[in-house]
Symmetry: C2
Subunit: 197 residues, 2 copies
Amino acid sequence: MEKQVTTCPPGKLKIINAMRSLLEDRTFESLTISEIAITAGVTEGLIYKYFKDKRDLLHHVLKEHYEQFLIQIDRDLQGIDGALNKLKKIIWSSIERYANHRVFARIILLEVRNSEEYFQSEAYALVRQFNRLIIEIINEGVADGEIREDLPPASIRNAIFGTLEHSCLNRAIFNEEVSTNDTAKSITELLFNGIRR
Amino acid sequence: MEKQVTTCPPGKLKIINAMRSLLEDRTFESLTISEIAITAGVTEGLIYKYFKDKRDLLHHVLKEHYEQFLIQIDRDLQGIDGALNKLKKIIWSSIERYANHRVFARIILLEVRNSEEYFQSEAYALVRQFNRLIIEIINEGVADGEIREDLPPASIRNAIFGTLEHSCLNRAIFNEEVSTNDTAKSITELLFNGIRR
DNA sequence: AAATTTAGTAAATAAAATTTACCTTCTGGC
DNA sequence: GCCAGAAGGTAAATTTTATTTACTAAATTT
């Protein structure tokens, strides 16, 4: 009956927040455990109490971000009908997320995919979940005749993800501005109707 | 008058080859200088004689790969007319390169973009050069009426690069097979004509 | 033939990550 | 009311890696 949330110990929270804040303008590799500990105001040992290693902490931060992202996507999709409309909304929401959460964008686009452990992490499980959602929507669109049936759904998903990510790469790397509405509009237009005149 | 090639010292060559070969099935982060030196059959110090640090060596390997890639692209484009035909060929050539040169794909898709130094490297200068080529072709296509003029060229480029890269990500990460012809065909179809039925 | 550069080694140093041993406080069961 | 053990935390040692330094020996230049 009780709220079984097992509230996060303050030290752990401080570590996570320090990591988030340091990643705001530093690369993962350039951060040291000592630096993270100092920023968090805890000792280095405590980091290893809560996380297997530096990467595990990174994956944890990503997981929290991704959970928020999925919750928002879920909301955003409420009441939207039709596969293309759903994809359009997902494109918009994703851009919006990358544009306004640079740490999230940097972690997922630049920092995690180069390690094997990531693909065993809970964060990656969430990514796969999002992937499945997209594939479902594409299949729905093909079934309804909204989407061409001569393209492999995986290709369509790759195009959507790839275009989205590449469009936000300069934001993640160089901190360039991204106009969510304009970018989402161009991408949607492009992917839905093609570049051919 | 002489051939001014300043032939590469054998030790340097051995280091580069060791790096290439280790990256075949290991991530950059997981490699140690000591391991690279042993594989190359040289001492650790020699690596620092020729390269600023571990990353500098990585960038050098990428640069060599990218040079080969650009030479091949140049050849592949010979005699091809029309912006869409050129883009089609570039898509095919890129997929082919990623599919058959996994180390190249891994380095550029997974290992370099997370460091600031990369964007100062000679390797990145080559990437920008390729980028400009694509933009030129897109502009040519718009001018000729082959490509829609209502989409920003940068968006089109992002879509092409992004889709290409995402289509080869599973190849780079999980060593999954990629059929160059099928993949190139789907991507081209998709980007040229859109996913809408 | 002296002077300098080039290719290379071996050992020291520095910088990180990770582990270990320990201390305190709180909590549930007797 | 108390005590065993878990939970939160520290401080210092250890290990692992990257990087630097000081030094040969051969080749090249002058």
